[in-house]
Amino acid sequence: MAKIMHIHIPDGLLPIWLWLSGYLITIIFLLAVLPRIRKEIKKIPLAGMVTAVALLIMSVPLGLPIHLNLMVLIGILVGAHWSLIVALALNFILASFGHGGLTVIGLNTLVLWFQAIAGIFLFKSFIKIFKNYFASASLAAFISLAVSFLFFIGIIIVASTEPAEFLHSHEQIGHTEISLKTLLTLSLPIALFGILTESLVTGFIVQFIKKVKPDLIV
């Protein structure tokens, strides 16, 4: 089962400063988001339920060698602020239950939250243009996931660069402990396949919810 839709970098691969930065940025965003949602206690069970569904959906066999994240859909359902909480809960539970990546929970949360926020913004923009829920949701998911894959590659590039060199030099550093070319060759086909599948599924689900319970869509 491939899950390259969000970073699945194993523990010990990234330099300590990078994953600690991931935690630090996540905490800063949490400090900004938590006061805004403090009074929305009615949404707490919904956020919990959506997290549980996302955990389960990752286990649903698709007949294809991938599984889904559905963060764009979650963003559309719970909104931008709550999707940070869902992304954190999802990553924490997955990392604790054997998926690995305890050190990259912070970075993973940021990537998933980015997918949700970009998805909400793009979906709202596309729906005004296309007036079609399937097309708008699919396209929003495709673009969000594709950009988050580039973010994943960006993290790998930054990881193979010393912080001082990264801050003070604009040149590509020659020394790296990961062959980016090999990594791209291995991960790009899986990512493309996964992004395409998830985009279609997001479109189908949003179309279905629009028909059956339209008030669920934010």
Partner: protein, 231 residues
């Protein structure tokens, strides 16, 4: 889907010295060992850490072969990176070992700690966070049967036939139904909690009292970290 069921079962029903340790001592142990895994550049240390965790799994009366099987998942992803590191000496092997060590370590902690104890720690950071964690975990067991039944019906009615596009559309409908079911269920849960006086806080009481074995566990973690730094 069954792994969370089993982890919950292992954490709540098995009685062992490891299960009886406080959450704090287990988390300190986890952090010390995780730090060792992350900074270690020695294959021997990584193997030693792995064997230590296996010994603790056995001491905790946990089925270590099953737990090792679960760690294959992160090992698979680590192998993608390991293949990209061929030509950098022992680095590919280190990458895979680190991934397996960290995954098995996390599983050791969750299989010996009931989830309310684990998630209640988040209440020190934010009550909303700990509530969402707690309700997500509880909801998992509410939804799992619903989703499994729907998937079974889909299979029986030929929902997986007709090509990948049709399959995706059918599965999407099942996921959509599950999401709607969850949203409706979340409203019921909220109403029930409100009737019981819920105001955004779920209380849980956990023990923080350290015993000798807690200190031994922390000392073991510290010893491994010192060994890692020295080597």
């Amino acid at each position: 889907m069954s792994s969370i069921y089993l982890i919950d079962y292992f954490a709540n029903t098995i009685k062992s010295p490891m299960h009886q340790r406080t959450v704090i001592s287990k988390l300190i142990f986890l952090l010390l060992i995780l730090f060792s895994i992350v900074i270690s550049e020695s294959i021997l240390i990584l193997i030693f850490v792995f064997l230590t965790i296996i010994a603790l799994l056995i001491a905790a009366k946990l089925p270590f072969l099953k737990i090792l099987k679960w760690s294959v998942y992160p090992a698979f992803f680590a192998s993608l990176f390991a293949l990209s590191q061929i030509g950098f000496g022992l680095l590919p092997l280190q990458t895979i070992l680190r991934a397996i060590d960290a995954a098995v370590l996390a599983l050791l902690i969750v299989c010996t700690t009931p989830y309310p104890n684990l998630f209640s720690l988040f209440s020190k950071i934010s009550v909303i966070l700990s509530n969402v964690f707690f309700l997500a975990y509880r909801s998992f067991f509410l939804i799992i049967d619903e989703l499994q039944t729907k998937i079974r019906i889909l299979k029986l009615r030929g929902g997986y036939a007709g090509g990948p596009f049709r399959t995706l559309k059918n599965i999407s409908a099942v996921i959509g139904q599950t999401l709607i079911y969850s949203a409706e269920k979340s409203e019921i849960i909220y109403n029930l909690l409100t009737v019981r006086g819920y105001q955004g806080i779920i209380f849980s009481k956990i023990k923080y009292k350290f015993k000798t074995l807690d200190l031994i566990l922390i000392a073991l973690g510290a010893a491994i970290l010192i060994l890692t730094i020295k080597l």
